[in-house]
Amino acid sequence: MRERLDSLLERAGFHHAEGRELVRMQIAMATGLSLAAVSISELSDWGWAFMGGAALITVNFWWLVKYAQNVTSNAAGAAGGAFFRFFVRFGITGAGLYAMIVEAGWPVWAIVAGTITVMVTILVWGARKRARSNSAKEA
């Protein structure tokens, strides 16, 4: 499963190994926590709002990683595309939040909790990296 997701991400243009790992972890974290939230909340609005927030931040993070990759990879002619995607991503995030908070009237705390999944992913990734480097030093 992990290798398959990894190869899918590589085909989608994630050439930077750590960026790919972060996106993979974010997808896993958002999916796992969203399923847990939906089942714990017994299919209520809270669970769906959490899932919406997690999905929105995952899409946002996906494009952010691609943008950062493009900025540091010196790809000729990629600046215009990266610039365009950067602002389209902002628009999608804003429109998504508007739809969830204003149109759907979902609980805001659940949406914010969904968006926090990216922070959890980064913290878990950092802790894993630290643990790996500590075990490598001991060996």
Partner: protein, 106 residues
């Protein structure tokens, strides 16, 4: 000393505005909410823009000095941008609440 004075005066001004807003009638509360959302989002965009700009500037300078370090910089840049941007997203959530959900009344 100037910084402390500046912070204290700002706090007093904010507290003054807050008391006015709580004492005002319904329409004034709505107007204050709109002002709060506009100023809040503007400040969030300003801070987020400055932060992201400084981050990308640092990454570009680092790569210009040492092009081989680009891979390592990418990870740090991603994390920095993600942290900065999440703050702007939270500010947007608060602004949407103030503008459309109107927790303090219309």
């Amino acid at each position: 000393m100037r910084k402390v004075l500046f912070t204290a005066l700002n706090t007093v001004a904010l507290l003054g505005l807050a008391s006015l807003s709580f004492a005002a009638d319904g329409s004034a509360v709505g107007a204050m909410s709109a002002w709060g959302a506009a100023v809040g989002m503007g400040l969030a965009a300003l801070g987020c823009g400055i932060g992201q700009g400084i981050g990308v500037k640092g990454a570009c300078e680092g790569m210009a000095r040492n092009p081989e370090i680009g891979g390592k910089l990418t990870t740090t840049l991603i994390l920095g941008l993600a942290f900065i941007e999440s703050l702007a997203i939270y500010a947007l959530v608060v602004c949407l609440l103030l503008m459309f959900v109107k927790p303090f009344g219309a």
